[in-house]
């Protein structure tokens, strides 16, 4: 999967979990916080989402491993490529998945780390959001185009508060790397009570980033038939939905690392609890319109994040 010749210039940081000679970068890329662990967690998160949602609607709901069944079934179906769609139609889901899979490698649970990896995280998460929009545009159907444009407008909406709150955390921990932030929190206690406004701003962005109610405007099934996904089928759709499910896990654990970090097993538990919170928010809220989400992010959340940034800088 990953190029064998991993670029030598990455400084291999101190290993938390046991010293595993020089095979450690491959383990951290392929197994622990990397591909295997992330995909298992992604399927678990998605399965939990459907089961808890059903249980809250007093239905029995599907088995926990349902996303796994859906993934295999979608892979086995034949994938139709509309002739009006461009070359990016096939590459958009692959790039989206690849960009989302990079983030967990930088997690402080035994993963690789280097000086400025918080910037890489911000950039890479945006790439996957843009790839969703590109997929929508390249699918050649009006619904896909509307879904793509909505995805881009929503990206602008939540980008400002996201960047500000992350910078606030970085300045507080005086280090732009996740390991550094985690270390600062282990020393000085969790950030969420030291930076409450930035925490609120970041947590409110997550539904928009993942595409959960009340901000899942791009994939609004009822209005534009699934938005960017409208023309996708077969393995392309499987990759796109898997990329989405990985994004569930990645963004939630990013929130835990930035604000609620104590040690690695507490990281897993808080991740599940936070995910429960977001499922609950999805269940009780309807889908707002694009302009309403724009107002919500720019006015309220932007100012909250700014307040905290100023508080930290002074």
């Amino acid at each position: 999967m990953f190029p064998y010749r991993w670029p030598v210039l990455i400084r291999v940081s101190a290993v938390r979990i046991g010293d595993l000679m020089d095979v450690q970068p491959f383990i951290s890329v392929l197994i622990v916080p990397g591909l295997l662990f992330t995909s298992v967690m992604a399927f678990l998160y998605a399965g939990m989402y459907r089961k808890v949602r059903a249980r809250m609607q007093n239905r029995r709901g599907p088995p926990f491993v349902q996303p796994f069944y859906d993934f295999i079934k979608l892979l086995s179906k034949d994938s139709i490529k509309p002739e009006k769609s461009g070359m990016l139609f096939t590459w958009a889901p692959i790039i989206a998945l690849a960009s989302v899979l990079i983030v967990p490698i930088l997690f402080p649970i035994g993963g690789l780390s280097f000086a400025g990896d918080l910037i890489v995280v911000i950039y890479v998460l945006n790439v996957s959001a843009i790839m969703l929009a590109v997929g929508g545009f390249s699918s050649g159907s009006p619904f896909g185009a509307v879904g793509g444009s909505r995805e881009v407008t929503q990206l602008f909406a939540y980008e400002l508060p996201l960047a500000i709150s992350m910078v606030a955390v970085a300045v507080k921990a005086s280090s732009f790397s996740l390991v550094g932030i985690a270390g600062a929190q282990e020393a000085g206690g969790m950030f969420f009570y030291q930076l409450p406004f930035a925490c609120i701003a970041f947590l409110s962005i997550i539904p928009a980033k993942i595409g959960l109610q009340p901000f899942d405007i791009p994939e609004a099934e009822q209005e534009i038939l699934g938005g960017p996904f409208v023309e996708y089928s077969g393995y392309r759709l499987a990759i796109f939905t898997f990329a989405n499910q990985v994004k569930y896990f990645v963004v939630i654990s990013l929130a835990v690392i930035l604000f609620f970090w104590r040690n690695w097993w507490q990281f897993l538990i808080t991740g599940f609890l936070l995910w429960l919170l977001f499922i609950f928010v999805k269940i009780i809220s309807a889908r707002v319109k694009t302009d309403q989400s724009f107002v919500f992010f720019w006015q309220y959340m932007g100012i909250l994040a700014l307040v905290d940034l100023v508080r930290v800088v002074i």
Binding site: R50, A54, Q57, N58, R59, R60, G61, P62, P63, Q66, F68, Y69, D70, I72, K73, S76, K77, D78, S79, I80, E221, Q222, L225, G226, F229, V230, E231, Y232, S233, G234, L237
Partner: protein
């Protein structure tokens, strides 16, 4: 062995597309009632999907009216293989009480190949679930 696993996964996650071609919307509401908590279709992994690209099973109701028939044909062609068609209600099976009408091309199997028939006017949601599940077992059960 690989084939068994894939067939098992296909059986466990049927994504449905509901196409109403001139029905009295009682069968359509019973199909929606099959989603409701009392007869939850999601227990079998079933989800109602918005467009044909994402679906495996076409749930068809109603007599094939003049305007709706070629829409159904196009939807059938847009659905990727492997797919199945389930005809719900006596209208879709034998045109029911509207047998001598001028405004129909014939029951569902005159338009698309049908894999399972669920009689009733309207068939109860339990009957719809039973029909869909038996269709799944027949097609990919093994």
């Amino acid at each position: 062995m690989f084939e068994k696993v894939v067939n098992y996964c296909r059986k466990k996650s049927p994504w449905l597309l509901h196409v109403s071609c001139g029905s009295c919307n009682n069968c359509d509401i019973e199909v929606l009632a099959a989603l409701a908590p009392r007869f939850d279709v999601e227990r079998f992994g079933g989800v109602l999907k918005p467009n044909p690209r994402h679906t495996d099973i076409l749930v068809v109701t109603g007599i094939m009216t003049l305007k709706m028939t070629n829409v159904l044909k196009r939807l059938y062609e847009q659905t990727p293989d492997p797919k199945a068609v389930v005809a719900i209600g006596s209208c879709a099976i034998t045109k029911g009480i509207f047998a001598e009408t001028y405004a129909s091309y014939g029951p569902a199997d005159a338009v698309v190949p049908v894999d399972a028939y669920i009689p009733g006017c309207p068939p109860r949601p339990q009957a719809i679930l039973h029909g869909v599940v038996t269709a799944l077992n027949a097609l990919w059960g093994g």
